[in-house]
Amino acid sequence: MDWGVIFQNTVPVLFNAESCYFALAAIGLNIHFGYTGLLNFGQVGFAAMGAYGIASGVVYLGLPFGVSILLGIGLAIVLALLLGVPTLRLRADYLAIVTIAASEVIRLTARSASLRNVTGGSSGLNGFANGFYNLNPFHGRSYGIGYLTYNNNRFFLLVVGWSLVILFSLLVLLLMRSPWGRVLRGIREDEDAVRSLGKNVVGYKMQSLVLGGVIGAFSGFTFALANSSVQPDNYATTFTFLAFTAMILGGAGRVIGPVVGAIVFQTLLEFVQNVLSQGLQAGYISNSILPKEQLGAVRFVFVGLALMALMIFRPQGLFGDKKELALDAR
């Protein structure tokens, strides 16, 4: 077991792009589920809107980078309205099925050959990230310390990404302290009570869906820019469930929950995978128990176990308050 290698691989995950875009997706989900009680299982659809907004905006429509960002945000808002208008009156489990189905519709449509000009079909799009990296004010060779050392472009992406995380966390903090946030939490606790106070429940839910969806689109921007490409199959339901697990782990209904959850969760996954990989190399784990070429799959077994164990034993996650969040949303 080479613990040096394990830490060398694991420590950078604390602040890498993956933790960052899952944190953004989870912040959006937290507004939906943690504060409003909406069981949105299609968060990846919003991320896809953001990602394809900039990719198709730059490559297909030839728009400047900034306008493409606006296009991505606009697409996410349109998706939220399309999903929300008919479905926000549905029961929670129906909303879950509709949103998950919608996100699959988006992925399957984006990878379809008939849209190859627009979305790049199954091979996706690239060559849209220059507009972003041209804005890079960092021109040095490398930045950071120790394991956390990055080249200038990666450093720029991480600075922007984590700034977005902080910005949106502050926004959520302020919003949830406002009367508007109290109405959302009221809807989560007892929709009928809020309605009887004369509040337009569906309207508030819609605003929540749009806001969380737009933050989801920013997650998609970060994802697309980090890879400098958009691949349709990266926007499958797994993405949603990873973000969902991160949110539950940190604590739904807490501002800091999704951020800490995403960081801890991604780091844990990397750690487990590296320990297993080193264990295999050192012969502690036999290849017949865990075939080496399937090591990547262990990560997802772990995701599933974490999700089950959290929901059963600690539904409030690391920071949540069990009393505040009964987790049986409508």
């Binding site: 509709v98 998950i100 189905a101 990878r111 379809s112 075939p291 599933g304 974490a306 999700l307 059963i312």
Partner: protein, 438 residues
Amino acid sequence: MGLHPRPPRTLRSLAPRILVALALPLLLLLGFAPSASAQSAPPDPIGKKIIGTLLNAGEPLVDVKVTIVQGDKEIGSAKSDATGRFSIDVPAPGDYDAVIDPKTLPKGVELRSDKGDRVSVKVLDNTSFRAALFKFGEGRSGPASRLDRAPQLVIGGLQFGLVLAMASIGLSLIFGTTGLTNFAHGELVTGGALLGYVFNVKLGLNLIPATMIAVIVGGVVGYLLDKGLWGPLRRRGTGLIAGLVVSIGLSFVLRYIFLIYYGGSSRSYDQYSTQRPITFWKVGILPRDMVIVVITLVVLLLVGLALGRTRFGKATRAVADNPTLAATSGINVERVISLVWAIGTALAVLGGVFLALSQQVGYQLGQNILLLLFAAVTLGGLGTAYGALVGAVVIGLFTQLSTLFIPAELQVVGALIVLIVVLVVRPQGILGSRERVG
């Protein structure tokens, strides 16, 4: 939660609705050629090669020229043999394109891949061979052929729909009796296909006894799942949403354990995987598909009768309707639920074996149809047994017939849009009743 699933209706009151449901997709006939299958076979891994089997609707394509190119450079070429196989050596890992010479294709067969006559193949350094997947369909020969294609698609759709029905009844009954939206149901289907594979290919049993054993094992697994996981969770008072999230976690665990121990490849059963269709007036049916349809109909009829006529069926409906009332009238609710889990899982296993016969065994088999299963049960009405049957047949026909006018790769999209529309417009489904929508 206002869960009051409607007890299943009798067949008599159902008949006119089935006819309406079956007639709907028939009205949607417009033109597009259907898709056919592309398969890969894993032969001997010696050196690095790109391999594949050219099949059109199960029929091998012989003497078709395949060329491997890298950029503009030609690496090698080969003709497919009598079983449709080809194998071309490549020098090193890297990105290649496999190109088919369309002039060597038999008449009436057309390529239907994303990029026309070529598919990209990435040869990695840790694998010794890589499959090149081509999709074929019969050539479009004008608008008249749409009507010709329709009967074949109706047969295919009915068969697919019945298999979906078999797999979805468990999902529907479990929802009806416990309120759980089980996202791990797809993995029960996959597990069934894999159990069949273990008994059939690994242990060498004929597929028929292998399937029977798999179904029995499936029933035991379902029973144990309820006794070991879902029952204790119910007693802890775990909510329905929490249960739903637990089922997502379970689906990840199962799916990736399947991946670890079965691997990522698609394989066939030892028997009945290649058959020649029997042709009835232009409509070709594989003998195994006829058997599947008959078995499915018999099993579904038996399940329907059991639910409608037997004491256990009555108890199940009572539990679905009102568990507290059922318990006070002397029904052992937990026992009924455990049996529902056993039966539902056994049916999912049988559905999985049937599905794998037409789509090959793979670790994502069930996950790929999970949303179609949801579509089927919500369309028919969540929590009803016959509802799942009607919904599944409609979805099966819809996915097949929709290829007449949308690209085959989008057929699932069509079904999912139907699911969304149904949930929005009539969330109780075709056979559900209004009261249970909360």
